[in-house]
């Protein structure tokens, strides 16, 4: 594992330029993508605020202002950790464009990481403006907890890496089947319920919370969100970082195993 660092840095720099150029070309696609990322948390924000108003001001300790804060932060966290690699891989394998990438002397995951990070750098300012606007409209209640805000930074980085690795590994399913859309849907369904996207996990039934503790989804979306909002104790934060580290190790191993196995299948089909 002794990559020449300069060499790798050059590769990343080049990928930044390429991605940036293609984003400038496809501005409209970017807007559509952003609408999707804003609309879903916005819908659940509105629904849960309505729930809290319908039941006398608060639900499970959440007022309308708490829900607003939760879903606005969740929107940003989800946007930062999001990947679209599953759609990308299906296309690559089906069209055979992966062959060209395999010829490069560097693991293809590097260009995917650079691509993802670049597009986030471009879209994040827009998302922050939208978050600020939503803040003006929905009057969220933020309680600043300094230690939690400081811990948020490494936590969201870990969340990004874990989500990237698990989704990249899942995307490799395209090596084995041409119908990945149903599988992706199962994944996004699990994501919705177990990550905290549908509702803060405290509001979900006990069995769901237990499963959510084991699966990676919560640690990549809901956990950084709750941490930034100061809803966690230091012990809970440590547990969460521990779970993130465990999933990081697991997904690294899984990724390598699946990638090797997938390559064998791919060459067999391509020949």
């Amino acid at each position: 594992m002794s990559w020449p660092v300069r060499w790798l840095a050059d590769i990343y720099a080049q990928q930044f330029k390429t991605t940036f150029a293609s984003f400038v070309q496809y501005r409209a696609a970017l807007v559509i993508w952003l609408i999707g990322h804003v609309l879903e948390p916005l819908i659940y924000l509105v629904v849960w605020s309505t729930v809290s108003r319908s039941s006398g001001g608060s639900v499970g300790g959440f007022t309308a202002a708490d829900f607003a804060a939760y879903f606005i932060v969740l929107m940003i966290v989800n946007h930062v950790t999001y990947t679209w690699i599953m759609y990308e891989y299906e296309y690559r394998v089906r069209q055979g464009t992966l062959s060209a990438e395999l010829l490069r002397p560097v693991h293809p995951i590097h260009s995917d990481i650079a691509d993802n990070v670049t597009s986030k750098l471009i879209t994040l300012p827009g998302m922050l403006v939208i978050a600020a606007l939503l803040g003006l409209i929905f009057r969220p209640a933020f309680h600043a907890v300094p230690w939690a805000m400081a811990t948020f930074v490494p936590t969201i980085l870990l969340a990004f890496i874990v989500r990237f690795l698990t989704e990249w590994t899942l995307a490799l399913a395209a090596f084995w089947t041409t119908r990945v859309s149903a599988m992706n849907q199962v994944y996004f369904m699990a994501m919705l319920f177990f990550s905290g996207q549908l509702a803060p996990l405290e509001l979900l039934p006990q069995p769901v919370r237990v499963i959510a503790f084991i699966l990676p989804f919560r640690w990549t979306v809901g956990f950084p969100t709750e941490l930034l909002l100061g809803r966690l104790t230091p012990a809970q934060a440590l547990t969460g970082i521990g779970m993130q580290a465990a999933w990081l190790a697991a997904s690294l191993v899984l990724m390598r195993v699946v990638w090797r196995a997938g390559l064998k299948v791919y060459s067999a089909v391509g020949a």
Partner: protein
Amino acid sequence: MRYLRLMLVFFRVGILSELSYRANFITHLVESVMELGTALAGLAIVFSHTTTLGGWRPDEIVALVGVYFLVSGAIRMVIQPSMERLIEAVHEGTLDFTLTKPEDAQLLVSIQRIEIWNVTDVVLGFGVLGVALVRLGTTVGAWEAAAFAASLLAGGVIVYSFWLMLATLSFWFVRVENMLEIFSSMYEAGRWPVSFYPRWLRFMLTFLIPVAFATTVPAQALAGRITWKTLAAAYGLAVALVVISRAFWRVGVRRYSSASS
């Protein structure tokens, strides 16, 4: 009468051409069932914390989910594929073949492509609607049923005219597909009563992207909470959009300069 026969012919051709991809049916069914299951499980979680939501009872929201599936299934089955092909035809100049046929071209382009497997959403939507109706029981009388059918029809006409107008823009602009995408993603918001949303968003979902009349209003009718004023507004908007989209289409076709230019 002739138009009806024409539509039936197109439906048959569409079904026949899709029947060669039968495995797609299973995929579509699995995906539709999962989507519906997700929606209902989400509702179950919401209603484990409250008994009414902004004045809506659980079964009324379930009925709304049914309407949502019904309408979005119909869009994905007929309107979206046909309009996408229209945009393609304008870009590639193949619209000539349609324009030279001795029938109304607007009708022909509107039903030219049918992705029959999306019928799974329509069927599931009807199923959910039926279950919700049974559970709502006696509150749904003849007046509610009639108002429901009438507002669903108006909503369908509004959505169709809106899509036609968007697709017709391709006579002037190149990248219209993106706007269709935006409509599809905003349509998600129709799964919940638009009265939940803040005023600016409600306005957008009623007039800019007319989702409200296709989903919330029919569900409201079913719950017996529709007023004559709302129904009249729905029909006013439907008639206006039909006239405008027809005019839009005519001007667009006149601009269309065929493949060679």
